[in-house]
Each structure stands twice: as C-alpha cells, then as structure tokens.
C-alpha cells in the first residue's frame, strides 16, 4: 500500500500511540488478571477447605473415617483440586486422596502449618496448598492442593483472551486509520491531478473534474479556489496582453490603476 508522504509521520505517530496503548493495556491486563484469578483460586480453595473442615467435625468426632473419605472424594472431583488430606490434632493422616501413596514431601512436612504454601511434588507437579483448621485446630486440619499448572493454564487462557481482544482492536484501529488516510490521500491525488491539468488546459480540466468542483468539502473548496486562481491568472494575462497591444505593459498597468 502506498503511503502518502504527507501522512507518513501522522501514520507513524498513530502506530506509536496505538502500540503504546496496546502494550500498556496488555501489561496492566496481564497483571490484573493474574493477580485477581490467583487470588480467586486461592480464596475458592480456602472456601472449599473450610467447607470440608466444617463438615468433618461430626464425622471425625464419630470416628467414621470412611464417611470422611467419601466426603473428600466428592470434593477432589472439582476441577483444579489435585489432592486433599486431613490430619488430626496429632498430625496423623486420617484421610487422603494420594495414589500410590502420600508423597514424602507431605509425609515429612508440617501438618500444623495453616499458611498457604507452594509445593513441588516430584512426579506430580507444582501445587498451591491451602489449609483450614477443624474445630479451631483441636480436631485437626484440612489441606487442599490446587494444581498450579492448571491454574497457570487458566490464567494464561484468560490473559490470552484479553490480549487477543486488545490486539484485535489495535489491528482494526490501524487498518481503519490507513483506510481513512488513503481515502483522504486519494482525494488529494485527484486534486493534484486537477491542478496539473488546470495548469495545462483549463477547459479540459474543468470538464474532466467537474465532480470535484461541486463537492462541498475542503477538496471542492480547494478545487474551486484553484479554478479561481487560474481564472484570475487568465484575466491578468489577458489584461497584460491587451495592455501590450495598447502600448506596452507598464503603460497598461498604469492605465488600469
């Protein structure tokens, strides 16, 4: 596509501006989505951990561990939850969802730690582990491992959608700008052609570009102005010629004045 010299700087400026807006919006969006979704996942996990902890009290006090296992088996079906384990007040594992066994990192970990932690379990992946106390920790704690890989994938998906939207707007904006500029450029081209033709053959130019002269925009005004200047020039030229016939240009000019 031919870019008119007149608009090269303008277009470059627009690209730069759009690019700047796109990049800064994307960075802000990535940060916001990442932070919000991470917090939301953590908060949801804590909510689930608390739900299990609340529901576990009676079951643990009734010492029915099969019902406890049944409870956590239902929660582990929720997407993103990779494992759940419940420890008692002594740190002993009462129920869990690990296969083929409790990973050494968790077996040897601190079951009383209720802070949110990040874990890397060999052969399983990376996890965010949230915990909730059961009966203010006197009956133990529920620990839930969220798959960081899946969370990251979800966040990346959400960010991807945002960036995709911003990029689409950016590209559409740039294309629209180029289109608008080329529209203006085409009219300027016509005006230029008209001016050139006017300089060569006035009548032919007026006939060939009469559409320009009837326009009510700036192009039409300029075309009419060119024609006016040309007519003024013609008048001057005619007068100068007649003056020359009367006795030379100086005397003619003086005579008109």
């Amino acid at each position: 596509m031919k870019i008119h010299k007149l608009f090269q700087k303008t277009l470059f400026g627009i690209f730069l501006l759009f690019g700047l807006i796109g990049v800064s919006t994307s960075i802000l969006c990535v940060y916001t989505v990442d932070t919000h979704l991470s917090n939301e996942y953590e908060s949801n996990s804590k909510g689930i951990a608390k739900t299990i902890a609340d529901a576990s009290v009676d079951i643990i006090l009734n010492r029915d561990l099969s019902a406890l296992q049944s409870l956590i088996d239902q929660f582990v079906e929720i997407q993103g939850i990779s494992y759940i384990y419940i420890t008692n007040e002594s740190g002993e594992f009462l129920a869990h969802t690990f296969v083929p066994g409790i990973p050494a990192e968790i077996r040897n970990g601190d079951p009383f730690n209720l802070e949110t932690i990040e874990r890397r379990l060999p052969g399983m992946g990376d996890f965010v582990e949230v915990s909730s106390p059961i009966l203010a920790s006197v009956a133990g704690a529920v620990h839930i491992g969220m798959d960081m890989g899946l969370i990251t994938l979800k966040i990346q998906g959400a960010i991807g959608q945002q960036v995709y939207l911003i990029s689409s707007i950016f590209i559409a904006g740039v294309l629209a700008t180029i289109w608008f500029v080329s529209l203006v450029g085409r009219k300027i081209e016509l005006l230029t052609a008209y001016a050139v033709r006017l300089a060569r053959d006035r009548d032919e130019a007026i006939v060939a570009h009469d559409d320009l002269l009837v326009r009510d925009d700036e192009i039409g005004q300029l075309a009419r102005l060119f024609r006016y200047f040309a007519e003024v020039m013609d008048d001057k030229k005619a007068r100068r010629t007649s003056m020359t016939g009367l006795g030379g240009p100086d005397s003619g000019a003086m005579g008109l004045g």
Binding site: L68, V99, P100
Partner: protein, 385 residues
Amino acid sequence: MEIVLGMSAAFSGPSRGLGIELYRGAQAYFEHINRAGGVHGRKVVLKTYDDGYQPDPSVQNTMALMLEDQVFALFGYVGTPTVTRVLPMLKKFQDKTVYMFFPFTGAQPQREPPYGEFAFNLRASYGQETEGLVDNFVSIGKRRIGVFYQADAYGRSGWAGVRQALSKYGEKIVGEATYRRGQQFTGSMRRQVEILEESQPDAVICIGAYAACAAFLREAVDLGLEVPIANLSFVGSENLLELISEGREDSQRYTRLLVNSQVVPSYEDTSIPAVREYRDLMKRYSPEAPAELVKESYTPFAHSFVSLEGFLDAKLMVEILNRLGEDPQRTNLEDAVFSVKDYDLGIGEMVSFSESRRQGLQQVYYTIVQDDRFVTLDSWEDRFS
C-alpha cells in the same frame, strides 16, 4: 402378585464378579421359594441395575428403584463407595420407609448414626475382619503391618479398622499404599509394592477388589515381598484366585502366603446345613446373571463365598418377608426384622436383630489356598510362623 426388591450392583467393569455372584446366590434361593409358591403366594422378584461399582450410577439407580419402580426394599447393594452415597437418599425419602437390606460391604456408615437406622446388615463388619486379621498376625509375632488399599471409602474403612486394631497393641500401620478404584489386573502395582517394601512389614493387609489385589499379589511375589498378604471378604476370593492362577503353572508360589478373611463359612464344608442347601440349589437352578446387564464376558463359579453370602442374604430376607404376613407393608418391615431372634440360618451362628443390633452375623472365618481352592485356615502358627 410380587414383592419387588431393588438391587444396584457391579455387573460391569473389573469388579463385576462381585455383583454377578451375589445376585446368583440370592437368585438361587428366591427361585427356590418362588417355585414353591412364593412368600404367602407372592413371588419375590429382584429388579436389578448395573452401577459398575461407581457411586454416581448407584445414586441414579436408587432414585429409579425408589421413585419409578417403587420397590418394596433395597437388597444386595455392592460396595462401600456406592452404599455410602446412597444412604443419604434413604434419609431424604424416609417418609417412604425404604430400607436397605444386607449390603455387600462391611463399612461403618450403614451400621451407625445418622444412617444406620435405614439399613440392616447380615455380614460382619470390616472392623471385625481387620481386627481378626491383626489379632492373629500379632499372635504369631507379626506386629509390623502394612496396608494396601483402594483410595476411597471402602479402603479407608478397612484402613481405619487396621489402625484401630493395631492401637490395642500400641502399634501403628508401618506403611501404606493405595490404588484407584477400577484398577485392572493387567495394571502395574510395582510402585505400591516398593512403597510397602520400604516400610519392611511383617504382613500386608489388602483392602480392595479382586483385580487390583491380584495384581498387587503378583507384583509383591515377583518383587520378593515375602510376607503374608491378607485380603478382606469383599475381595471376591475365587475371582482373585482365578486371575492369579490363570496361565501359571507355579500359581502356588503366589498363593503360598495368601490368607483371606471371610464372613461366611467355607462352601466346601458340607457338614454345614446351609452350605448343603446352597450347593443343592445352586446346582438345581444354575442361576444366571441378568443378560441385559452383563455385557462383558464372565464365567460364573459353581460355588463362591460371594454367592454363598447372597444365598444367606436371600434366605434371611425371605424369613423377614414371611413375618410380614399376607399383606406386607413397608412400614411393618422394621418390626419384622426386630422380631428375628436367635434365628438359625443353618451356618451354626444364630441371627438376632434389635434396635441396637442391626447386624445379624458377627463371625469371621479365615481361609488359605490349598490345591487351588480356598480352605479354612486351621493354624496361623503353622502356616505363617
């Protein structure tokens, strides 16, 4: 005129042998009663659904049985993860007074509040089975017990039983490994065996279904874990033996240290009247699993612990239905069950029920493999010391 009982069990998948055999045993007795005129002139019919030993289908089947089929009672459900999910439905629809009779599971939820009041059990519990196994292992000096279990409510139930039994001796489970429900015999159990091997157990108690437990037994022996390996009654002993023996000339190598607890006596012991009756009726009627439910190939056993249990379940069920009289009402079922006192099922142990006793049998039997069949274990000392 019929009395329709609803049964949701595994008729497909790697545990289908359990549902099929339980059904066959029960059907042998129901068929016998129906041919003799039924219960007060009413035939006893089993309405069956397949749940593949999975909780969600089991819940759906129960909805259909209770609300669409409007069965008289639920009977012969198979499995802890399935039954534990169905029990809350019985409470939800308690105004319909639908009771669950004799589920094929020894777990606690249907034996205790808040759901115990909606179920009646015949078999001994997993707590009793695991306690018996632990007591016997400890008695021969094997105090370091490892547990291999199914990662669900059933496995946890057995695990809890072992843990509690060991606590009597001041011991803890020394190592544990799990597997996912639905594991096939062809799957590898190497990692599970390695995990347990690290804990150096004196014995391993398995709480699983036959396909997974047979796979574990195979890998354990192949990897040199030379300790007694015990299974609970739910395993389906004959199915396990069939898998471990199939195509092997040295199957004795794999079963040498195997011991299975049972909740019914040996079907080989024909001195027991109920066993003679069971063998006679199984031979006479050759019951088959519902053709519409069995999609995978399965060769039934002439006799098995599971079908014997189904047979005894049916026998007691018929006795209870008899006690309801000529106009059986669901609302009278509980009273009919509680009227069963010192009832002789024919296995030497009297059956009684009451408000506080919702389990008919208490006895646990131990069996080992001899000449490619399960026989009663006489001496733990001689076999495992």
